[in-house]
C-alpha cells in the first residue's frame, strides 16, 4: 500500500516552478502550476538521467534541462522527441500547508 509522504511546504515551490524531493533512495519532482495546483512525478527524465527539477516549467509542461525533452507534468505524457516514454506521476494532496505525495 502506497504511503503519503510529506515532500515540502507549500511555500517551498514558487508558482510555475518545480523542486526536487528525495525519499527512500528515489528522487521526485514536485510542481506548482500557474493556477496554484501541485503535482508530482518521478524526478528524472525518461530519456537520460537528468533531473527535471533543473528544468523549466511552462504552463503544464516541464522541459528537461539536458535535451529539452517535454512532458505534461500533470499527466506524465511525453510530448515528443527526444522523449518517448511517459513520466510516472503520483497523487498529491495539501495538508496543513504541506505538500504530501503518495508513493
Amino acid at each position: 500500500m502506497a504511503d503519503w509522504v510529506e515532500a515540502c511546504a507549500v511555500d517551498d515551490v514558487e508558482e510555475e516552478d518545480v523542486i526536487r524531493f528525495d525519499h527512500g533512495g528515489r528522487s521526485f519532482a514536485v510542481y506548482r502550476s500557474p493556477d496554484d495546483e501541485f503535482f508530482a512525478t518521478d524526478g528524472h527524465c525518461t530519456h537520460e538521467k537528468a533531473h527535471l527539477a533543473d528544468g523549466l516549467v511552462m504552463d503544464d509542461i516541464i522541459e528537461c534541462p539536458k535535451h529539452n525533452g517535454r512532458f505534461n507534468y500533470k499527466t506524465g505524457a511525453a510530448k515528443g522527441a527526444p522523449v518517448c516514454v511517459n513520466l510516472v506521476t503520483y497523487p498529491v494532496k495539501i495538508e496543513a500547508g504541506k505538500v504530501m505525495i503518495q508513493i
Partner: protein, 363 residues
C-alpha cells in the same frame, strides 16, 4: 602527461564506443557552473518576440536576395545577391535548425517545429535523424565513439576541413544519405541513436525532401534554366562557408573524452552580422552547459558565468590563429590538444574527471 597511445575509433558502434561506456564517459555527469535557480529561471524564459523578429528579417532577406538573383541572372550584378542568398540559405539555416531543434528559439512549439523543418530542408539534413544525433552530441560532447557530430577528428584531415568550406563534402554525404533513407534504409550508426519507434519517421521525411529535389530538377529542365537549382539545393554548396567558419571553432583542437565543456568547447566573440547568422552560438560553452537558455539570452548568461570559464577568443581570426599550430601538431601527435586556461575566479577542472586519460596539452 603522456599515456599509452590508442588510435581513436570514431565509429559509433566500435571499440571507442565500448570503452566510453565501460569507463563511464558515456552519459556522464558533466560540470556545471553554479547559477542560482532564480537567475537561471529568468534566463531560461521563452518568448516568441525575438525569434519572430529575427525570422521575419531572415525570410525577407532570403526572398529579397532570391528576387535579386532572378532579376539579375546573366549579369555580374547577380554575384552580391548570390553571396547573400547563399549564406542565408546555406549557413544561417544551421543556427535556425539548431535553436529550433532545441525548442528554445520560440516559446510556441509549432513555430519551433516549422522553422526547424524548413532549416533542415535547406541543410539537406533529415530532421528526425539529426534531432537524435544532436541529442547525443549534448549527452556525449566530443566523446570519441559516442558523439555523432565531431567535425574534425584526430589526426585532423586538413584537406577535408578546407573542403568543408565549399560544402562539397557535406553535399556529397547529405544527398546520398537522404536518398538512401528515402529508399527505407537506415545505417547501423543511425539506428544506434534513433529509437526504433522514430525510425520510420526518418524514412518518411527523407522521401518528402527527395520529392522536392526531384520536382526542382524537373522544373529546371522544363524552364531550361539553372535558376531553380541555384535557389534550391545548390546554396548548400556555395553558401556553406560561413556555417563552417563559425561552426568549426566550437570544438576544434580542444580536449576530447572529458566531461567539462570548459575544456572541449570554445566561446568566441564575433561581429554582430555573424552573430545574427549564427544566432549567438558563438557563446558555445554557455550553450552546452545550459542548453535550455535561448539564443537571445546567451550574452546575459555569458556575463553571469564568465568568471568560471576560460577567456573567450576575442575574434574568429584569433581563434583560428590559436588553433592552427595545434592542428599541425596533431598531425604527428593525435593526443595533443589545446588546454584552455581558467581565470583565477574559476572553479578548477576536476582532476578525477580529466587527468586519467589526459594527453599532452598545449599550455
Amino acid at each position: 602527461m603522456t599515456t599509452a597511445k590508442t588510435k581513436r575509433d570514431y565509429s559509433l558502434v566500435g571499440e571507442s564506443t565500448r570503452a566510453a561506456i565501460e569507463t563511464g564517459l558515456a552519459s556522464a555527469e558533466w560540470y556545471h557552473t553554479d547559477v542560482p535557480r532564480k537567475a537561471m529561471k529568468e534566463l531560461m524564459q521563452r518568448s516568441d518576440g525575438p525569434a519572430i523578429r529575427d525570422t521575419i528579417i531572415w525570410l525577407a532577406a532570403i526572398l529579397g536576395s532570391a528576387a535579386g538573383i532572378v532579376w539579375f541572372w546573366g549579369s555580374w550584378w547577380v554575384v552580391p545577391f548570390l553571396f547573400v542568398y547563399g549564406v542565408l540559405y546555406g549557413s544561417s539555416s544551421d543556427s535556425r535548425w539548431h535553436e529550433c531543434g532545441h525548442g528554445t528559439a520560440f516559446r510556441t512549439r509549432w513555430m519551433n517545429d516549422l522553422v526547424y523543418h524548413i532549416a533542415s530542408f535547406m541543410l539537406m539534413r533529415n530532421p528526425v535523424q539529426w534531432r537524435w544525433s544532436h541529442a547525443r552530441h549534448h549527452t556525449d560532447t566530443i566523446i570519441v565513439g559516442r558523439d555523432a557530430e565531431i567535425a574534425v577528428m584526430r589526426p585532423p584531415d586538413l584537406l577535408k576541413a578546407a573542403l568543408a568550406f565549399t560544402g562539397i563534402l557535406d553535399f556529397r554525404y547529405s544527398l546520398p544519405t537522404l536518398m538512401r533513407q528515402a529508399f527505407g534504409t537506415l545505417s547501423e550508426e543511425e539506428k544506434s541513436y534513433i529509437p526504433e519507434m522514430e525510425q520510420h519517421k526518418a524514412v518518411v521525411v527523407a522521401r518528402w525532401h527527395m520529392a522536392v529535389y526531384v520536382a526542382t530538377i524537373a522544373f529546371a529542365i522544363a524552364l531550361g534554366s539553372w535558376i531553380p537549382l541555384v535557389l534550391v539545393g545548390l546554396p548548400r554548396l556555395y553558401g556553406t562557408w560561413h556555417m563552417v567558419m563559425t561552426g568549426l571553432l566550437q570544438h576544434i583542437g580542444l580536449a576530447d573524452n572529458v566531461v567539462d565543456h570548459r575544456l572541449n568547447t570554445r566561446t568566441v566573440y564575433m561581429n554582430p552580422i555573424s552573430r545574427f547568422i549564427y544566432w549567438n552560438m558563438n557563446y558555445h560553452v554557455e550553450h552546452h552547459m545550459f542548453p535550455m537558455v535561448p539564443y537571445h539570452a546567451l550574452p546575459r548568461l555569458h556575463d553571469l558565468i564568465k568568471h568560471d570559464l576560460p577567456e573567450p577568443n576575442p575574434s574568429m581570426w584569433h581563434a583560428y590563429r590559436e588553433v592552427w599550430p595545434v592542428l599541425l601538431r596533431q598531425l604527428k601527435y593525435e593526443d595533443y590538444y589545446l588546454k584552455r586556461e581558467l581565470p583565477r575566479t574559476a572553479r578548477p577542472y576536476r582532476g578525477e574527471f580529466h587527468e586519467v586519460d589526459m594527453s599532452p596539452a598545449a599550455e
